[in-house]
């Protein structure tokens, strides 16, 4: 222990302060860092609030901590779990469930001493090998009481873990495969504990979230069959694009997945609602958390906040339904925090708690794990694009406050370009057909909070809209002047 501390301490010291000073954050928001006792390793895997308003934190180290956010006390609720990457607490009954690698477990405190005594298996219906990449993520619950989780594909890499079961289910030389059942699937667990395979084609589905309407979304990580990281809606029967999981789809029973062409898979898949351009915005996004705070977190009610494990930033996305499917715009929001963000949850007071881990992959920032909280001051209106909507012939941008009219109506304010991505078994994708467009037909609203313009539109593209030096009526610059709109469907 002593040796470990010594070897890392200088590294951390030298890194301190540099990052924090460069953090980009909209006006009115602040970030607080929670002190974690020295004896706790808090590689956050899941966040939930209980009935008493305490934060329950499940960790990669297999523990569940109960953190009293007022008294700032830490109590161990459960331990000895196998990488607990998700937690759900019923805020009426305090019933607690965790997702761990081998199973979904209900943690029951029978004697009321604040510690779980019974670790009750709810379901363990998926396959598991000793491949470290076979993560299990969760948990969200719909209004009918069904739970949802996701299962990572198998890392198909020579030499990992000494196992010989890695080279199964690779499709078109993919880097991730399927060494055990239901890898690459989302699943539903009924209140009776029945496991229902739900959707497939996932790669590294690190985060799940639900909106007010009860719709489920997940994020996936850039890699094979994933040109860039994505936000996608989880719908029963949907194929998200990574073919290895089809081994467990009865429709493909007995078929050789390598005989099916990329073009055919491309037709089967549903395109992501949001592309996060790789490296620019995100490299490994975590849980999508919808703002249902009723305005306590600022003017972004209904939008979704997503953190990134590599870049340690928070992003903000606004979805809209076009032609029956979600698509929308994503912006950077706060960049960076102190460590890779995998989990977010809005607390009872409307502040956003972020759970962080950098272990193994590293992330921007000097610490290896942490807990932070983003608070809005309740009054300052940030200067941001609130959202971007697709119109019949271009886009309409809505701002959080009135902007300078002369800039709003000036074509030089807008830099718009678009590109596409390759769908392939190889890792990632370059940007295809990167094209810049001039904007025309600019119209600003009377109150200077909206602007619309015309640009040539094409489906299956990402449109990057950057504001050049645009300032608010109150002379504030836009904190995050670039938005990325994923255009899958034109308005009909």
């Amino acid at each position: 222990m002593k040796r470990f501390t010594l070897s890392l301490a200088p590294l951390f010291l030298s890194a301190a302060a540099l990052v924090a000073a460069d953090m980009r954050i909209p006006q009115g928001y602040r970030v607080e860092t929670i002190d974690i006792p020295k004896n706790i390793t808090l590689g956050v895997g899941g966040l939930a609030f209980n009935r008493a308003g305490e934060l329950m934190i499940s960790t990669r180290e297999g523990e569940v901590w109960r953190y009293d956010t007022v008294k700032k006390t830490w109590n161990l609720f459960a331990e000895g779990l196998h990488e607990a990457l998700g937690i759900y607490v019923d805020r009426k009954t305090d019933e607690t469930w965790v997702m761990q690698r081998p199973e979904m477990t209900k943690l029951i405190d029978t004697d009321g001493d604040g510690k779980a005594d019974i670790y009750k298996t709810v379901t363990a219906a998926w396959g598991l090998t000793d491949n470290y990449h076979e993560y299990a993520f969760g948990l969200v619950r719909d209004d009918a009481g069904n739970f949802y989780g996701t299962l990572n594909t198998t890392l198909s890499w020579v030499g990992w873990a000494g196992s010989d079961r890695w080279d199964i289910g690779r499709v078109h030389d993919s880097k991730m495969g399927r060494a055990a059942k239901y890898r690459g699937w989302s699943f539903m667990v009924t209140p009776q504990g029945e496991f229902v395979p739900f959707s497939n084609g996932m790669r590294s589905p690190c985060g799940l979230g639900r909106n007010k309407a009860g719709e489920i979304f997940y994020t996936d990580n850039q890699g094979d069959w994933n040109a860039s990281s994505t936000l996608q809606q989880v719908v029963k029967g949907r194929f998200h694009g990574h073919p290895s999981s089809l081994m467990d789809d009865p429709k493909f029973a007995g078929k050789d997945l390598n005989q099916i062409s990329v073009e055919e898979y491309d037709k089967m898949r549903t395109r992501p609602a949001i592309w996060f351009p790789h490296g620019e915005l995100a490299s490994s996004p975590g849980q999508p958390e919808f703002d249902e705070t009723g305005g306590k977190f600022g003017p972004f009610e209904g939008q979704v906040i997503i953190g990134d494990q590599t870049r340690s930033n928070l992003m903000r996305a606004a979805l809209e339904k076009v032609d029956g499917e979600y698509q929308g715009v994503v912006f950077d929001f706060i960049d960076p925090l102190q460590c890779g963000v995998v989990r977010n949850i809005f607390g009872p007071d409307g502040s956003l708690w972020t759970g962080e881990t950098g272990r193994g992959w590293r992330s921007v920032g000097e610490v290896l794990f942490g807990l932070q909280r983003v608070v809005w001051d309740g009054q300052t209106v940030p200067t941001e694009m609130h959202h971007v909507s697709l119109t019949a012939d271009g886009f309409e941008i809505t701002f959080t406050q009135p902007m300078k009219r002369e800039q709003l109506v000036d074509a030089a304010t807008y830099a718009v370009k678009s590109w596409g991505y390759l769908y392939q078994g190889e890792y990632g994708s370059p940007k295809l057909d990167e094209t810049s467009f001039p904007v025309t037909n600019i119209k600003a609203s009377v109150d200077n909070t909206k602007v619309s313009f015309t640009v040539p539109l094409k489906e299956a593209k990402v449109y990057q809209i950057t504001l050049r030096n645009l300032k608010s009526h109150a002379d504030q610059p836009v904190t995050n002047p670039t938005g990325y709109y994923t255009l899958n469907h034109l308005r009909k």
């Binding site: 297999g62 779990l81 081998p102 873990a161």
Partner: protein, 505 residues
């Protein structure tokens, strides 16, 4: 003058030594240096990323000034990486942060920030891809850091290219290994070594010792000092050691003791080649030999392999010790299935429960579990197999344990969880009938006692299977037929089985 001493030692050491005798060192060096610079041979350096470790496999290498360097960079990791060579003194973190701040430009620019610090770089290399670049090594001697600038990688993914080598270096290093029981350093010149060999890495390392206790080693070589200065040596060892330069003791650190704070010795050196000797012995217990030097513009040059930070020897263990309460841990365990539950009972009996087959797979005595491979010691991804810390014993596991109605029924086992507090109990069902299995240590502390309870009395006979060979198996009820215990419904409602090895494992 500094440039003139450019890294020719590797090229023609023998010639230097010959010249020294007649003309004096500096003249010889100056002549050879000019030759060496012009003749710097092209060199190919292979660097790979290590899968899952966020590291380059080569963290330092040396080239001659002006040499044409071909870097072959192979990405063995599942993530993208790059390689940037920086000017001496550059702060890798500052450069990396500039790269991260490129934002939307980062990918297009291969995460290479526009900074004077960056000398050469590869593109971003995808998993399983290889790239190469060729560049001319700078003429200026020094240490040139290299780093991967993808977000977060800088903390562990970096290294150092040395141009012209270090102003201080060990050469022609050889070790001799002796065995014997001493309480202070013996006169090695009167002893016959058990083995001797050259050390191509030129790093002092006691890892070649053939046993952990009662041995001694000497390390002899040349200390090449390219710039006259006072050098400060630091030496720490467990047990005794002595450092001699040009035959004179610089540091005395004899006797039996832990490594502790290093002892220091200072010597003023002329530029040239000096005889170096380090003597060391180990009695019993811990072993360590750490030696370093500073001066001649080098802040701190380790002359020994650092057993603290070397990639092969990072202490990744994380031992869980059982105190007064049982510990129950779910993690991969060497020899267990992917779904494994390890239990350590107070008193030093431990076992692994397999929740897929609802049965104990094996037991072990003594210390409990090293979960370091699961936790990655706070640094790595983890997910490795944890290690049991005591001798394993068989509990006769041989596939499914329970069969309902007949010995050959393939009964469906379904795991239901466990009670963690008190003596752990496991819940499962056999063909839909709920069973509790409480597991405790036998009174002799050598085996396991199972207390089975069927929630409702079964309607048919219950068959319990255990491979008894080599075991002492005692049951509270039922009839054995070979390895199968048949229990009548009334007996099965609650019965006890104890399993202990008959011989010491």
């Amino acid at each position: 003058m500094r440039l003139n001493i450019a890294g020719q030692y590797r090229i023609n050491r023998g010639v230097i030594l010959n010249h020294c005798r007649f003309w004096g060192l500096s003249l010889a060096l100056a002549m050879l240096a000019a030759h060496a610079v012009q003749a710097a041979a092209p060199v190919t350096i292979h660097i790979s990323t290590i899968h899952g470790k966020m590291k380059y496999d080569v963290e330092s290498f040396e080239v001659d000034p002006g040499a044409e360097v071909t870097l072959i960079f192979k990405n063995e990791d599942e993530m993208q990486h790059n390689w940037l060579l920086l000017k001496p003194g550059s702060k890798t973190l500052v450069v990396a942060q500039k790269a991260w701040a490129l934002g939307i430009e980062a990918v297009k620019k291969d995460y290479v920030p526009d900074m004077p610090e960056v000398l050469f770089h590869t593109k971003v290399v995808n998993p399983r891809e290889t790239t190469s670049i060729t560049f001319t090594a700078p003429m200026e001697l020094g240490q040139y850091p290299y780093v991967c600038t993808l977000p977060g990688h800088v903390y562990s993914m970096k290294g150092m290219m040395r141009v012209g080598g270090s102003p201080i270096a060990l050469r022609d290093l050889q070790y001799s290994y002796y065995e014997g029981e001493w309480t202070s350093l013996p006169d090695f010149s009167k002893l016959t070594p058990k083995k001797s060999a050259a050390i191509p890495s030129q790093k002092i390392d006691i890892a070649v010792a053939e046993r952990a206790d009662h041995f001694g080693m000497t390390f002899k070589g040349s200390l090449v000092v390219k710039k006259a200065d006072e050098l400060t040596f630091k030496l720490s060892s467990d047990d005794g050691s002595r450092l001699l330069v040009d035959g004179k003791a610089v540091i005395e650190n004899d006797g039996i003791h832990p490594a502790g704070d290093p002892k220091t010795g200072k010597v003023a050196f002329e530029a040239g080649i000096h005889a170096f000797e380090l003597q060391y012995f180990e009695a019993t217990g811990e072993q360590a030999l750490i030696v370093g030097v500073s001066g001649a513009g080098v802040p701190n040059l380790p002359l020994s392999v650092s057993r603290d930070t070397g990639p092969k020897t990072v202490d990744t263990s994380f031992h869980l010790h059982v105190m007064d309460k049982p510990l129950v841990i779910r993690a991969f365990v060497d020899g267990g299935p992917a779904r494994s539950i390890s239990v350590g009972l107070p008193g030093g009996v431990n076992y692994l429960f397999d929740p897929e087959n609802c049965a104990v797979r094996f037991g072990w005595t003594g210390m409990f579990l090293d979960v370091g491979p699961d936790r990655g010691r706070g640094v790595d991804r983890g997910g490795g197999w944890c290690k049991i810390l005591g001798p394993k014993f068989s509990v006769g596991y041989d596939g499914p344990v329970f069969a309902m109605g007949s010995a050959t029924t393939k009964s469906v086992m379904r795991f239901g969880g466990y009670k963690k507090t008190g003596t752990p109990e496991f819940y499962f069902s056999v063909d839909g009938r709920d069973v509790t299995q409480k597991i405790s240590a036998t009174t002799d502390g050598q085996g396991l006692q199972y207390d089975f309870r069927f929630q409702e009395q079964p309607k048919e006979s219950v068959f319990f299977h255990i491979k008894k060979d080599g075991l002492k198996v005692v049951c509270s009820a039922g009839q054995w037929q070979g390895d199968v215990l048949q229990l009548k419904p009334s007996e099965a409602a609650a019965f006890q089985v104890t399993v202990s090895p008959t011989a010491q494992p």
